[in-house]
């Protein structure tokens, strides 16, 4: 990766047209542990891209490198055409990040927090409009600790949108939410994609990935095992002669649950 000639550089630039994220031969070690073992992938613009894998597979490290929060050992990473290795702060300016722990300063209202986050990007923002988008207008003057789990995640996404990012990173956004709130968050993610933004999603829920993602990469032991649209991956498995133990019916328990309790959000 070290010696890239001028023409190669130009070719790569051409090569990366139309991609929100380009990762080539990314490697990251923590001491003797190889967390990410030379992976390469591309995320198309306006795509919802899922990064799946068991805990310790290397997804978090990969995402943190893309977000400019960690250094790479080897490899090339372009986010929105910007080299993360060279200018991590510039990357931070064009992406939005929703983290698993959605804690914020105590003592500030949602409006005040959005104003603060906007200022950190050197911008100002119509905080009320942003809250309306994530359906939190009535909570504008509340503190974050007065919000329900789903509301907290939606607010966390709102903070990630203050800079009108090209790429939005969602890290297990529906963990711990009830079925109604999960569906509500999926709709939000789809609405954000419709605005022309790219979404990189990590999740442990396969139904979530199947519903939302255009393509998923399945990672384990620091390597990418497969990278296809979910339907294609399922078809491949079936083609191999796989039969589910489960009797497939046209409804599942979640459908029963939602039929009985409704799709309406349950939050104060």
């Amino acid at each position: 990766m070290s010696a890239i000639t001028q023409t190669e550089e130009a070719n790569l630039q051409l090569d990366t047209q139309g991609f929100a994220i380009v990762v080539d031969g990314l490697r990251k070690r923590y001491g003797s542990l190889v967390a990410v073992d030379g992976i390469s992938f591309r995320v198309k613009e306006r795509e919802i891209f899922g990064l799946l894998g068991p805990n310790g597979a290397g997804k978090t490290t990969t995402v943190e490198i893309l977000e400019g929060l960690r250094q790479t050992d080897e490899g090339r990473v372009l986010v929105a055409g910007i080299d993360v290795r060279k200018v991590p702060d510039k990357v931070k300016g064009v992406i939005g990040v929703q983290l698993q722990s959605s804690a914020f300063f105590d003592g500030l209202s949602l409006l005040e927090l959005l104003d603060l986050f906007a200022a950190l990007y050197g911008r100002s923002v119509d905080a009320m409009a942003l809250l309306e988008k994530v359906d939190l207008k009535e909570k504008a003057r509340s503190n974050v600790n007065k919000l329900s789990g789903g509301q907290k995640q939606r607010f966390s996404i709102a903070t990630a949108l203050v800079n009108e990012p090209k790429i939005l990173f969602l890290d297990e956004p529906t963990t711990g939410l009830d079925p109604q709130a999960r569906r509500n968050l999926w709709e939000l993610a789809q609405a954000i994609r419709t605005e022309g933004r790219t979404i990189v999603l990590t999740t442990h829920y396969m139904d979530e990935a199947e519903t939302l993602c255009d393509r998923v990469a399945i990672m384990d032991h620091g390597k990418i095992l497969a990278m296809e649209p979910p339907d294609l991956l399922i078809q491949r498995l079936l083609d191999k002669g796989f039969h589910s133990q489960r009797v497939e019916r046209s409804a599942n328990l979640e459908d029963v649950f939602l039929d009985m309790t409704g799709h309406g959000l349950r939050e104060g």
């Binding site: 931070k92 983290l99 698993q100 804690a103 500030l108 990007y121 903070t159």
Partner: protein, 360 residues
């Protein structure tokens, strides 16, 4: 409209800080409470009072005059009671001297018996001297002789430092340390644990802006504490402030920097509040008692004085004391300031080495 990240961070954390009642309570009321307690106890202030018990067996004009004149002496706290009860109080150590005025008082030569407390010779000597002088004067008066020698007294206004004058600058130094250490340690460990610092790092925020905003927020608190402690000292405890307010503020703010950096170092080194709290106490408790905050270090054994003169809190409290009591200039306290700056440099170096943005 673009807003400066630094100003917004500062404004936001000031707002958050002043909405947190618990934090205000600890930073403003606790030092006031400590000062109130120590100010009221008023250690080592002025003349000691002596407790004199009077058993008035005569209860006539003469004995009553003796009692009322004794009451007029400032250093005397007079108690009246029966013989048995007063003697009992003396045995209990509640009286320094018990004088018995027999029924024959005022009728010729009379012996006044005085029992005194051997357990507290200092006070009972004072009580005896007072009684002696009193008896002498009364004898002269009865005999109609004017004394050969008289004492002509003239009051002179002196600086008359009280314990409060010693205490107030010490309390200011103490609250600077507590705000720096505990205010930073707990919030930062919490922010780290809850991922708040990580969330901020995911924005293009400049680290410098963040730290300076926190510095400004804490130092604002320190300035406010100085103001409140000074005001209460001046109006409630008759604190004699002879110095320059600006100098006091300058020393307070630079001194505050030492403890803020120490707080950052501690919060950097600890993973949870459970480990941070003992470390912060381990640093603050010895400093609190060994830096001459409540009592002068001159009461310490010499070897301890030698060591404790280098404590950061000693430098800060000595500097504040020189400014407020002696009206010292910044040049006059240059040795203390040098010590403060050396500690500031040490603390900043340690803080930059130890501080981490996330729980690893």
């Amino acid at each position: 409209m673009k807003r400066s990240p630094f100003l917004m961070l500062t404004w936001s954390s000031l707002k958050a800080y002043f909405r947190n009642r618990g934090a205000i309570f600890f930073s403003l009321l606790v030092p006031l409470m400590i000062m109130g307690i120590f100010g009221l106890i008023n250690f080592g202030n002025g003349t000691p009072t002596v407790n004199i018990g009077i058993v008035d067996q005569a209860n006539n004009q003469v004995s009553q005059r003796i009692v009322s004149s004794l009451q007029g002496i400032k250093a005397v706290k007079l108690h009246r009671g029966g013989l048995d009860s007063e003697k009992h109080e003396l045995q209990q150590g509640n009286r320094d001297l018990v004088a018995i005025l027999p029924p024959s008082v005022g009728q010729g030569s009379t012996a006044i018996t005085a029992y005194y407390n051997q357990g507290n010779p200092q006070n009972s000597q004072v009580a005896l001297a007072i009684m002696n002088q009193f008896v002498d004067r009364a004898s002269f008066a009865f005999a109609g002789i004017s004394p050969a020698l008289t004492l002509d007294t003239k009051p002179v206004q002196s600086r008359n430092l009280t314990y409060v004058d010693f205490l107030v600058p010490g309390m200011i130094a103490l609250s600077i340390m507590q705000t720096g250490l505990f205010g930073v340690v707990f919030t930062f460990v919490q922010w780290k644990q809850r991922g708040i610092l990580r969330r901020l790092m995911a924005t293009p925020m400049r680290v410098r802006d963040f730290f300076f905003s926190q510095l400004v927020t804490r130092l604002t608190t320190v300035a406010l504490q100085i103001a409140v402690l000074l005001a209460v000292g001046l109006f409630l405890f008759h604190f004699h402030f002879a110095g320059n307010l600006l100098y006091l503020l300058i020393v307070g703010i630079i001194g505050g920097g030492i403890f803020l950096a120490m707080g950052l170092a501690i919060s950097g080194a600890s993973k949870s509040e459970e480990t941070a709290a003992p470390i912060a106490n381990l640093v603050s408790l010895p400093l609190m008692f060994l830096s001459g905050i409540f009592f002068s270090r001159s009461n310490m054994p010499e070897w301890l004085q030698t060591i404790t003169q280098y404590s950061p809190l000693t430098y800060v409290s000595d500097a504040l004391r020189s400014i407020s009591i002696d009206g010292a200039s910044l040049w006059a306290i240059r040795t203390d300031l040098l010590g403060i700056f050396i500690w500031l440099a040490i603390a900043v170096v340690i803080a930059t080495r130890l501080f981490k943005w996330e729980v690893v």
